[in-house]
Structure formats: C-alpha cells, structure tokens
C-alpha cells in the first residue's frame, strides 16, 4: 500500500498500524515526492488525502492512474464540500473509492483485506 497524507501523525500511525497487520506500507507526507517515487505495479492500493499543499489528491490520483491502470486508489478526506467532485470521479473509475476521515488503521486494514480477497479467489479459480 502507498499512503500519502500531509499530516505526519496520520501517515505515521497508518504506516505503523497497517504494518502491524502485516501489510507492506510506503508512506509519504509530500504528494510530489510520492508521485516521483511511484512505480507502476508496485502497489495493490494507494490511499491519499485530498487537500494537501503542493499537489492535491485529485492531481496525484490522475498522475498515478496515468501510469497504473490496475491499482485501486482511495481518496481520503475530512472535508464534506468536495463530495460532488469526488462523486463525479467515482462514477468514472471503478477502481477508485472514497474514505472519510477519521478512519482507524484497523478499519482501513479490514477494508484492504476484504478488497484483496476477491482477486485472490479469482486467481485460484
């Protein structure tokens, strides 16, 4: 999982929490750095905040999606007033989701596990 949020405390707690659940995490508090370091195929999931300095989550999403068509991306925000913009994007991309802050690392881990289970089953059959 790639986690991007300008709030260092959130990045830190999610990284340590998800690691504890056995998930490999790369985390950045600078979206530009995250995009520069991004490697297609490396991640199953990207979880990114929306409102960030230097580059917002929408642009980061577009930057990542243009390189990797298969990674599942979650936009994470505590703002409600972005809902219309988010809804329009959600309907255009089946591999895009929205998560409202606050979300605990255990809730996030549960969600990510439930998402990965399906492709695993598909692989087996």
């Amino acid at each position: 999982v790639l986690i991007v949020d300008d709030e260092r405390d959130i990045v830190d707690v999610l990284k340590r929490g998800l690691s504890l659940k056995g998930i490999d995490v790369d985390a950045f508090s600078d979206p530009l750095e995250a995009l520069t370091e991004f490697k297609p195929g490396r991640y199953d999931f990207v979880v990114t905040d929306i409102r960030m300095p230097r580059m917002n989550g929408f642009d980061l999403y577009r930057g990542i999606r243009s390189q990797d068509a298969n990674v599942r991306i979650y936009l994470l925000s505590a703002y409600d007033n972005l809902q219309n913009e988010v809804n329009a994007m959600l309907s255009a991309d089946a591999l895009l989701g929205f998560l409202r802050k606050p979300i605990s690392y255990s809730e996030l881990a549960k969600l990510l596990f439930s998402e990965t289970r399906m492709p695993d089953l598909a692989d087996v059959s």
Binding site: D9, I10, G17, R51, N81, K101, P102, Y105
Partner: protein
C-alpha cells in the same frame, strides 16, 4: 383617461408638467405649498412620459424600486436604464432596490458599473408596485396590473404622481426601510457564508486529530497484546483499560463533532439529501447489526427482534425466506439509517433487559411506511418529554443531546413524521417514524402486499 385634480391651483402646475423637464426644474424645492399636487394617471403612455420626465428632472437623488425581474426588462425597453445612467453622469445619486437573478444580472451590472447603487430586495412587494422618488420632492408610484406582459403599456395599471410632502416623504420612509432591510439581509447572508466556511474548516480540523488519537490508542493496545507475556497481569490490564478509555472517549468526541457539524449544516441550510430507493429490510437489518456490534459483550440480556409486518409477520434474523415482497422507500439511506441507529441506541441505553422490537409496515392508506422501535426500558422521563426532539434535551449518560433533534430534522427533511409514545400496560416507550411513499416509483406494487397489513398496523400502534 381619468385625472383627479385635488386643488384648483394644482391644475396650472400639473399642466406645466406636460412640458417636462422645465416644469420640475432645479428650483422645485421651492414649490409653494399651494401648488403641491397629487394626481392619478391611468393612461400608460402618460405614465411612461411622466416616469422618464421625472428621472430627467432629478438634480440630487433618485430612489427607485423595480418590483419584479420582468419590470426591469420592460422598463429597460422604454429607456429607463439609459436615463438612470444619464442621471448618474449629472452627479445624481441613484439607489435602486430590485429583484435579481442570472438573467437580469448583466443589465444590473451595467448600471453598477456606471455608479448606480443596487441592492437586492428580499421581500418582494406583494402589491408589485413600482416606486420612483426624485429629490425627495416628487414621487411616481405605478401599480403592476399584469407582470406577465412584456410591454410596459400592457403591464401597468394606475399610477399616482405626487409632489406633496404628505405623500412623498412617507414613500421615502418606505424606501429607506426597505433599504435598511436589504442591509440586514446582506449581513445575514454574509454571516451564513462565514458560518458555512467555519463548519467546513471545523469539520476538517476536528476530524483530523481524532484519527491519530484513535489509531494511536489502537496501536498501543495491539502492541501491548503482543508483549503480554512480558508484563505483570495487573499492569497489562491497567494499560489495556487506559487505551480503551482513550479509544472510547475519542470515539465519543468523534460522534459529538459529527452531530454538531450536522446540526450546523441543518441550521445553515446546507444540508443535502442523497435520495434513492432503499430496501426497508436491508436498512433495518444493517442498523440492528451496527447496534449489536456496538454493544457486543454488553447488554447481553437485551434482545433486538425485527418484525417486518409488511411481509405479513415477524421473522427471526435479518432475512426471511417466506415472503418475497420487497418494501422500498425513497430516502437518503445513510441519514435514515442514522435515525434508526440513534433510536435503537437510545432504546439500548434505557433497557436493562428484555426485548427491543423493530417493526416495519405500510399504513392502511398505503401513503406511508412506518418503522417503529418498541423497547421495554425505563420509559420517557416526564421532565424532558415535552422537548424530547429539541436540542440538548438529554437524560442519557454519554449522550450528546443532539440525536433525537437531528433525527427529527432528518425525518422532516424527508416530509415524514416522528413521534414517541409510552407503551400501555408494560414498561418502556415506542419511537415511530413515518416516511411518505409519494415518490415511490412502483406505487401500484403496494397493492400486492399481504392483505392483513392494516390489522397488523393497528397492532403496531
């Protein structure tokens, strides 16, 4: 044409009005009292002439009310807006009160660019009168006979012209009080905007720190569990208790901040419903599951039972196999679910042991879907009963006092009803909400519901 001459002397003056603007020139403030006149004009063409002439005669001030959007269009076509621009060029102060919408905005912006001060009138003058006051010495008030007409001559009714203080000054007072009113509305709008912005920022600022608090405490708890063997049991138990306390309190803070934000949104009018067709059984089942999860390990003597009466009888568990009829309501599922969870949560809080019974039904006329929660708890405290659905009327420990208030506002927004009754005979109370099925897409499908439906509903009450 009908003219009313009030004074003999006025006639002389009034006739000179035909030769406007000379008749009402710059020395008009010194019109002797005996030539003051009040006239009623009925001829549209004459009203138009008088109107234009009066604007041209202005030397210091024009006060004007456009009663409707259409009136601005009409009067633009007879040259009123151009006349106003001309007046501003001659250093006449022009203030306009008018309705405003996107279609008229360009006209008004042109006027504004020239220096006309325009304010949006919030209280439409119900009589749709148009009012022009020039230099606080003459007024023309025109009745709008038919606002749907596009031609000035067809839209206007009677008009009164006056240069008598007895009528002009009261009109000035009316104008000024409308003007002040718009100021207040503008301030209120600005305050709303600031409040909206505050709510959005507050939402962000409150939610952001809650996230690391909860996750941080969870991390501590999980780490502790992994090193349990290395700790004294008493120390371990104490630390676990403390991290649980942090998680619990932060969750409460989260709930409180969400509630306050919702109340702010409701009161700022920025509350939106995301309506869609929702299966009632699914809605109830997921609300029950949420509550059961919340009280996992607690309240073991309280059992929640769901009886979908619209299917013709109670069932155990969330899904049943007997009846295939689905009952759907058109609503914001997240918000209605919030209402149901809130009612269920209250029922849990006030019930020590026994059954909490959720029922769903269609009312006998088929116009409403009723969902009710009947508990066997302590009942409603008489002291808070009259203001049960008001803000901060709580008697529960750990409650925010906003739950039922929000529930009522959410149900109101759905054009529904919510009420509470004391159970007769046994203990406890029943909370019921009803949502209209008026927007129900397959209204005719309701006819296929089990026939015993009405009888069951009676039982429900």
């Amino acid at each position: 044409m009908f003219h009313l001459w009030l004074f003999r002397r006025t006639r002389i003056f009034a006739e000179s009005l035909g030769a406007f603007p000379e008749g009402m020139g710059s020395d008009s403030r010194r019109i002797p009292a005996e030539v003051a006149s009040i006239r009623i004009l009925s001829d549209a063409d004459r009203i138009r002439q008088q109107y234009i002439a009066l604007i041209r005669s202005a030397t210091s001030e024009i006060l004007l009310v456009f009663p409707t959007i259409n009136s601005i269009h009409r009067e633009s076509s007879i040259g009123v807006l151009e006349e106003l621009k001309g007046a501003v060029k001659h250093n006449v102060k022009v203030r306009v009160l008018c309705a405003e919408d996107d279609f008229i905005k360009s006209h008004l912006d042109e006027l504004r660019a020239c220096g006309v001060v325009i304010r949006r009138i919030e209280t439409p003058t119900e009589t749709k009168f148009k009012m022009l006051i020039v230099d606080r010495r003459a007024s023309l008030v025109v009745e709008t006979k038919d606002d749907s007409k596009s031609k000035f001559s067809e839209a206007v009714g009677l008009a009164t012209f006056s240069n008598s203080n007895a009528t002009v000054l009261p009109y000035v007072t009316i104008f000024e009080s409308f003007w002040r009113e718009t100021e207040l509305y503008e301030r209120a709008r600005e305050a709303d905007r600031v409040k909206d912005e505050f709510v959005n920022i507050a939402a962000h600022e409150l939610r952001t720190p809650i996230m690391p608090i909860i996750s941080g405490a969870e991390l501590i708890r999980e780490t502790l569990t992994s090193v349990r063997d290395k700790l004294e049991p008493a120390v371990f138990d104490g630390l676990i208790r403390d991290s649980n306390l942090i998680i619990r309190s932060a969750s409460k803070l989260q709930k409180l901040s969400e509630d306050i934000l919702q109340v702010s949104r409701l009161e700022a009018g920025t509350f939106r419903l995301n309506m869609r067709m929702v299966d009632v059984d699914d809605l109830v089942a997921s609300a029950i599951a949420d509550i059961e999860k919340k009280y996992l390990g607690e309240k073991t003597d309280v059992k929640i039972v769901y009886a979908p009466l619209h299917r013709g009888g109670p069932m155990s568990g969330a899904k049943n196999g007997g009846y295939s009829q689905k009952l759907e309501i058109y609503c914001d599922s997240q918000k209605i679910s919030q209402v149901l969870i809130n009612i269920l949560d209250n029922a849990m809080k006030f019930t020590r042991q026994g059954e909490i019974r959720v029922t769903s039904a269609v009312d006998p006329t088929g116009s409403e879907v009723l969902i009710s929660v009947r508990d066997s708890g302590t009942g409603i405290d008489p002291s808070i009963k009259p203001k049960l659905f008001e803000k901060f009327s709580t008697n529960s420990i750990g409650g925010t006092g906003l739950g039922l208030y929000l529930s009522k506002r959410i149900i109101d927004a759905h054009n529904g009803r919510i009420w509470a009754t004391e159970n007769s005979g046994d203990r406890g109370s029943t909370f019921t909400f009803a949502l209209p099925v008026s927007d129900y897409q397959g209204l005719e499908d309701l006819g296929n519901l089990p026939v015993e439906r009405p009888a069951k509903v009676e039982h429900l009450r």
